[in-house]
Every structure is written in C-alpha cells, then in structure tokens.
C-alpha cells in the first residue's frame, strides 16, 4: 500500500494532466453586440494617463481613502522591477542605500531576477520563485498596481490585486504588538494626522521576505511607516519610510509621493494569484528548459 498522501498526490497530478488539454481547448462564446457592455465590466484596465491629464478634480473628501486606486499610471508602470521606486538600484549616489555591515552582507546573498545584479541561468533565489507570499512592504514596492481600500468604524481594509493579498490596518487606537509572532504582512495600526493624511505603522514582518524586487533585506525589527495623502478627489500620494536599524544605518524613503489614481467605483480588478500548479506547468515548459529556473538547492 502506498502512503495515502502519495496516492492522493499522484491522483491529483494525473487528473490535472489529463484534464489540462480539455480546459485549454475551451473557447469563450463569441461576444455579441448586445452583451459587449456587460463583458466590458470585467477584468478592467486602468485608463491611460492621456485620458485625464490636465483635468481638474473635485476637492478631497475628509478622512477618506476608500475606493479603487491604481498605481500603474506612475512612471514605473507599476512594475518596480529595479527596486523601491524612490531608491532604485541605478548606481546614482542619491540612491545609495545606507546599509549596515550586516545589511550589506545579507543583500549580497540575494540573487534577484532583475536589476544590475540580475542572476543568470539557475542562480535566482528570490522567495517569490517558491510562490511564497510577497508580504509587506514588497506588495507596495514591487508591482504596485491596483488596490482597493474600504473603511469601517475601526479598520482600514486594504486589498491588493497583485498576488491577491489583503491587510487590516487597525484604527481603534490600539498599540502595536510587542515582539509578535511574525506575519507575512505584519501588524498595522493607523491614524489620521490631519483630515487628508493617514499614517500607518507596521511591525512584525517575516524576515523571509525581500523588501523589493532587487533583494534589499530586512530584519525582525523592521518598522514601516506609510503616509497616504489624499491630494484631491481623484489623486492620492503614498510615501513610505523603511526603518530597520539592524540592516540600515538610518531610515530611508522607499516611496516618495507615489501617485495613485482613483478608478471608477465599478472597476473590476483582474486576478493575479501565484498558483504552484501553474508555476510548475510554466517551469516544465519554459523555465527549466530555458535555464530560467533557479537551482533547487539555492538558499
């Protein structure tokens, strides 16, 4: 008798393999003129900057971040593959990260897929390659595309399209936890500094995550401050400070008034989830064969 787990896994794999050609062969029904408007309600794409450049917006509502916001209209196109947008890894003196010796040592161990240290042929050790959660603050320092924010009496609820992660920011005045069990997305509290500026503190983030796509590290004492500034009805600016005395000699700005644009309230966010099954399929077809995959034993 095979161990049960092995049997179940083998069955699942066989089913996936057997069904995949069927699933892929399915085609969507043709869009008819009458249903066009209905079809367009789904999987929306943010409008181009040119459609609203120069248009005046209504004044900002007070103490209100709610809505669907898109960051892909920034200069970085929402990709940030060169690292934190305010400190990209571009060799410029003003973008030199203030590493401590330990921070620099940890940084050198990371082997990213992009940037000047991008790794070749099987050396990448980015934890995203294991379908690990992106974690905070990487969800804002890499692929910051569409987010959705809702407010309740005691929470700000934050939903992130890319990787489908959510955060709760407590606004009930509680103190940050002391020495908490680490979370991928940390523990967050927030308060309004004035009617248009919401300031969030986050602690307790798992050390396994990278800060950004080029592998800046963080420790267990990382503290992240976000400042959401509602500029007017349609525009918000997000700034973020990284404060980690074990890795960096002083706090540094990772986001500097990163622009977020309010989307239509019926904007349907496309889904992007990391699915190990789809990863495996991609890897066996392309990643492994093309030398794009990290070596199994990379740490």
């Amino acid at each position: 008798m095979m161990p049960r787990r092995l049997t179940l896994l083998a069955m699942a794999l066989f089913a996936g393999w057997a069904l995949s050609p069927v699933l892929r062969a399915q085609t969507a029904p043709a869009k008819t003129a009458g249903s066009q408007a209905e079809q367009e309600k789904w999987n929306n794409v943010p409008p181009r900057k040119s459609t609203y450049a120069g248009k005046k917006s209504d004044p900002a509502p007070r103490r209100d971040l709610s809505g669907i916001w898109d960051g892909a209209t920034s200069a970085g196109n929402g990709l940030e593959d060169q690292g934190a947008p305010a400190m990209p890894e571009d060799g410029k003196p003003e973008h030199q990260i203030p590493f401590t010796p330990l921070g620099l040592e940890k940084f050198k161990l990371t082997k990213p897929s992009n940037g000047p240290r991008q790794s070749e042929l099987g050396e990448i050790n980015d934890p995203l390659y294991m379908c690990d959660p992106m974690g905070f603050p990487r969800i804002e320092l890499f692929e910051l595309r569409t987010i959705e924010i809702a407010q309740t009496a005691n929470q700000v609820i934050y939903l992130n399209e890319y990787y489908g992660q959510w955060r709760i920011i407590w606004t009930d005045g509680r103190a940050l936890p002391k020495d908490p069990d680490p979370r991928w997305n940390g523990y967050s509290v927030g308060k309004w500094e004035d009617d248009y500026t919401f300031v969030v503190q986050t602690v307790g983030m798992k050390e396994a995550t990278w800060l950004d796509n080029v592998g800046r590290p963080h420790s267990d004492v990382l503290r992240v401050e976000e400042r959401f500034h509602r500029v007017d009805h349609d525009n918000m600016e997000l700034s973020m400070t990284i404060d980690d005395p074990k890795m960096y000699t002083k706090p540094w700005l990772a986001l500097d008034k990163y622009p977020l644009r309010l989307q239509s309230p019926d904007f349907d966010m496309p889904e992007y989830l990391c699915a190990p099954s789809e990863m495996g399929d991609y890897n066996s077809q392309i990643g492994n064969r093309g030398g794009l995959s990290p070596s199994p034993n990379n740490k």
Binding site: L6, S113, L121, Y272, A275, N283, N288, G291
Partner: protein, 181 residues
C-alpha cells in the same frame, strides 16, 4: 512543491528504505524482474535498519517532481539574447492563458522544411489583458508569423517581440503593452 531532502537506507534485503522529508517512510522493493515497488515502511523496519546498517547514502533528490521549483514573472533579460530577433512561421499547437506567463506553443518550419517545437512566452494574464489579449486570441491550428527574442541556451524558447500575424491578419493590439500608459 520544492525539492525535498531524502535518505536512502540499505535494509539488506535487496530493497531500500526511503526517508523523505515531509512524508511517511516507505520501502522500495527491487523485484527480480528489475522493477521497483513502493510501499509504506512500518516504523520497526526503519529503526531496525538504522541500527543494523551503517552504510547510509545521503541523496539530494527531487522527489515527486510534478511541481518543480516555480518561477515567478519578472525574471530578467539575463537568459534571453535580446540582440537577436527570429521570425517564426508555423502552426499553433497549444495556447496557455495562465500565470506567471501566458505562453504559446508553435510548430515552426524552417526553410528546409524541418519542424521545431517552439514555446513563446508573453507576460502575465493581467498584462496581456491590458494589451488586448484574451484566452481566445490564439487557438490550436492557427497559422502564425511571430517575431521572437530567443533564449540564450539554444532551446526553442522565446519571448514575443512585437509582430504577430494570425491566419493572415496582423494582430493590431501588439505583443506588449506600452510602458507608462
């Protein structure tokens, strides 16, 4: 599933005990006809083997390789030869609308009539959707002409460069969305 560490113990009865991280131990029995049979190994067998035998072979294996170490999007250009453009002409055999990359399989013929089985990747479903693609943009049997950036290691793998012609019609949406849109 990431690769797993394993220990293979020689149980001395013409079979092996395999201890795999995260799974119950199991026995690999080598039959006279050369085939191997997997079965659960009771605890007593494992302990007896460890005590009795000192020849332990440590293996670093990829066990149950159905899902190998996954690759996320945004691997850089390092693996691609961005100085080259290849034009492929052929027939679509499969179109996968999934993450981390949408990809297309094409049987492409060269001038001598030889067929290569190519796999060409685009970006994520989100990005391709924004560029006007959908899961019905291609289908098996479509005749396509594609400009492709090839992978460095010579495998028939590439990335869409821009020009796409499907059954004689130029695909106007293009392969990649314009940055900063």
């Amino acid at each position: 599933m990431p690769p797993t560490r394993a220990l293979m113990l020689d149980s001395g009865l013409n079979d092996k005990i395999l201890l795999t991280e995260g799974l119950s131990p199991f026995r690999i029995a080598l039959r006279r006809d050369g085939r191997a049979r997997l079965s659960a190994a009771p605890r007593g067998d494992v302990e007896g083997t460890v005590r009795a035998k000192f020849a332990i072979i440590f293996l670093a294996v990829v066990v149950l390789p159905a899902v190998s170490v996954p690759l996320f999007a945004h691997h850089g250009n390092a693996a691609y030869d961005t100085t080259k453009t290849i034009t492929l002409k052929g027939t679509v055999t499969e179109y996968t609308w999934a993450n981390p990359h949408v990809f297309l399989k094409v049987d492409a013929k060269d001038d001598s009539g030889n067929t290569s089985h190519w796999v060409i990747e685009a970006q994520s479903t989100v990005t391709q959707n924004a560029a006007g693609w959908s899961r019905t943009t291609f289908k098996a049997g479509d005749e396509v002409t594609l400009d492709v950036i090839p992978i460095k290691n010579g495998s028939p793998i590439g990335r869409f460069k821009g020009r796409i012609v499907i059954n004689g019609t130029v695909f106007k949406e293009g392969a990649q969305p314009a940055p900063g849109q």
